[in-house]
Subunit: 501 residues, 2 copies
């Protein structure tokens, strides 16, 4: 009675928006009634292949309308879709396959085939080629099943989407997002972005990433049109924006630069696109988005909250760097003992609310550590400012204990990086007989700078016990993804003695 | 972990919006931290008076900030607030008191006292005078309790608000609305009305009615400011709009006319108010609201869905008279056997989704009849148009069965009323040996019109079996509230033989 799954969303749009195009991909255009019918066939095909409640379906391919219809179809069965990062190596994909144990793999022939071929050999799953012909080709596979709604009662707290998150500890973890998480996040994102009837979104980023998926879900929930871009290509993006009159897109500065270049001669009419300002040329091609999202987009987010936990648009002009929490979330900043810290103090960001994820797939211990005492522990550090806005400080990763006080490397690194000569910074703890540990800074610099000056600079920004006792200048800081490789740095610079280690 | 109650909303705003005024009432201004503290004291006072999970608190007074703080406070305990219609007679209020069996009654001294005094005598409840002094006065009562959060775990599916609904069958029924219903409806209403940071709403209608309460809840959820108008007074409304820079208000045409009159000399600056267009004068005093809600407000709603089930703003330019469903609702149109009817056919509107109510208080049979087979049966008739938009046709009330076909009086009445001479219409069924029943129209007219002409007129608009066999012209149609009094009409005009009767 009070449930609403993504499948229900499509069941309703089928009736309420019979003429609206739900998905556009190349020459293919699916209206909502067609989407509902195809996802019925697809659910039938999946069920016949053994997919039931809680089972996984793996997508190995670039962006396609089929990712979104698979999402709805698995939702009709209470199953889970994982659109994997196709840029990964065969070994990385093998890890995903072994970890996920999918009942069905929908894969893409063509350039990706070389990486996928070795995986198919030993796999128990049913492999369907989404762009292939014949009985193992997707279209023939689903055509054999009737367009009858499976009519399975699926609680909207059931997970429907699994996205692997950044592997800080060397191993990707599958974050499970429920129907309710995706639908409720969509409502909040929409409250900021204000899509109206007839909204058209260009899925110009990868759907295996929450940044694009959250907009695809929002567009679905609002009954709009998702236009799929297989992979980013500036010319094709311009063509689609013009042809489909796209109002939104997922664009980073580097992508905007490419769009501006591709449209330097004004071949394309991009005026339907409502987006934030960039440079003079860009601003004159598009329509500036005056929604709260458009005036200051994003905030602080992560896959584990289905997208954004805080929004700049809810804290316009505020003191914090990350705005205010989602209208459907509670956020607290906790110390290492789980107590709320006073405003202005850095601690771990924890959250609760309907769009928090359901845990990690097959990681009971990590899940229990992350979702505990009624709160999702984000593993990120933040600070509540005097006006209630939040500032994201950095990943928590690990803690240094010096003189009984907790020191989070990210906070000290941020302070170091505010010095004009510092181009990169990482902070470790060295064992210390008196203090347990002391703080050591490893930095890269653009010009020579005295150790004492850097230490004084940090002291001016954070509590004294957090300042480095020593500064090491290096040519390059080793990284694992975005974050410093602390294990390597510890080895190289004498780090150790961390609490709990 | 995934819950969010109205109490949680305030707990978060306390931290995220420490400087924002939550409630304004006369000279009183409560910030969110103050609201959170007062509701902690209040929850303590209520708990001490025996209020626990599922218990009721009755408000008997005009609009006040205390209704909204009571709502949050009962929410902290899992209890339920009923703001009653204070315009009711002593006998009507006695029914409410007997039906609700509240643990605490918060009442208002002054003009209402005469109606309330007889009720207090035999009541077991604790009576607190919200505008009175001494130990039974509200402020002293709550001052004695510490501002400590009761920290009771309250599922957001627990009811928190009870509103009595129109008594079609002669007896008001208390519709229970959960935290989740109010919060999720607020998100959808906000998606249409687009309140932004700093939103200020004037509660200019009665909070015992869902029409104002839904905006008060939305304003709370969005972290805005609710400004309370005790009862409607055009001059005071203008004063408050100007002083508080109100952006929204609950206004019907008659109220707008009064505001325009009160501000004929332009004493008040009402330009902060964003509202739909009315007349030339109004349009020039305010700022036209260009949100989807402002461009075409409302839709079809009822207390049992926490406000609106469909929104004009989601069907701008559509064929139907009521727009499209809430983004968090599914709607179906069913025939008398519970099967979905084809587009264009009138049937009962049923709905499901997170903002559907939780049932009627102490009405297990009515609740079972209303919330069945996974759907809320609204008791209203509607039609799905070809473009997916919906048209509200009228209350279902009862059905006529003629020749095996179902005829809903409201549909025939609507057809009759489209004739220029007809000023009012009611339709009953008369027992018929051949057909079971036949349709009889009772009408009031502005000028004489032939029976045959009216029958032909109806025949041109609806299926033949729905047309009246006889038309009776009367001076006045007896009504019960908005709807014809069918029992009286049956007695006077030979109605009877209804299916199931």
């Amino acid at each position: 009675m009070h449930e609403l799954t993504l499948a229900d969303v499509v069941r309703e749009h089928r009736r309420s928006r019979p003429e609206t195009v739900a998905l556009v991909d190349g020459d293919r255009r699916l209206t909502y009634p067609e989407l509902d019918e195809r996802t019925n066939r697809l659910a039938g095909a999946l069920a016949a292949a053994g997919v039931g409640r809680g089972d996984r379906v793996l997508w190995l391919g670039v962006n396609s309308f089929r990712i979104l219809e698979l999402l709805v179809a698995v939702g009709k069965l209470g199953a889970v879709l994982c659109p994997a990062n196709w840029r990964q190596s065969t070994d990385e994909l093998r890890f995903v396959l072994d970890d996920l144990r999918p009942a069905v793999v929908v894969w893409e022939s063509g350039p990706l085939e070389e990486a996928l071929d070795p995986l198919r050999a030993g796999s128990d799953a049913r492999w369907i080629c989404h762009n292939g012909e014949g009985p193992e080709g997707y279209e023939e596979w689903i055509a054999g099943h009737p367009a009858v709604d499976p009519a399975v009662e699926v609680p909207d707290t059931d997970p429907v989407l699994l996205l692997y998150t950044a592997a800080f500890d060397g191993r990707p973890n599958g974050a499970l997002l429920s129907h309710r998480a995706l639908v409720s996040h969509s409502l909040v994102l929409g409250a900021l972005r204000q899509p109206e009837e007839g909204f058209v979104f260009l899925d110009s980023g990868p759907l295996f990433h929450v940044g694009t998926m959250m907009f695809a879900a929002m567009t679905l929930v609002y009954g709009g049109t998702n236009v799929l871009l297989p992979t980013f290509d500036a010319e094709l993006a311009c063509t689609l924006i013009e042809r489909e009159r796209c109002q939104g897109a997922m664009l980073f500065p580097a992508m905007i630069t490419q769009l501006v270049e591709a449209n330097a001669d004004r071949r394309f009419d991009l005026s339907s696109l409502r987006f934030g300002p960039f440079d003079e040329q860009w601003n004159s091609m598009i329509t500036l988005d005056d929604s709260p999202w458009g005036r200051s987009f994003a905030g602080y987010g992560q896959t584990q909250v289905a997208g954004m936990l805080t929004f700049h648009g809810l804290g316009l002009g505020g003191l914090g760097t990350s705005g205010r929490p989602s209208l459907l979330a509670q956020v607290r900043i906790l110390d290492a003992d789980g107590a709320e810290v006073p405003d202005g103090t850095v601690g771990e960001i924890v959250a609760r609310g309907p769009h928090v994820f359901s845990g990690y797939f097959r990681r009971p211990e990590l899940t229990a550590r992350t979702l505990r005492d009624g709160w999702h522990h984000t593993g990120d550090l933040g600070r509540r400012e005097k006006d209630g806005t939040l500032s994201f400080v950095g990943p928590k990763l690990r803690m240094i204990k010096s003189g009984g006080e907790n020191v989070y490397p990210a906070e000290v690194e941020r302070a170091l990086q505010e010095h004009p000569a510092v181009t990169g910074a990482a902070v470790i703890g060295r064992p210390d007989e008196t203090w347990g540990q002391h703080v050591v800074a490893i930095v890269t610099v653009s010009e020579p700078v005295a150790e004492a000056e850097l230490i004084a600079h940090v002291r001016g920004l954070v509590a004294s016990y957090k300042k480095p006792k020593a500064v090491v200048v290096v040519d390059e800081i080793p990284r694992r993804g975005f974050t410093p490789d602390y294990d390597l740095l510890d080895d190289a610079h004498g780090g150790g003695g961390y609490p709990g280690s």
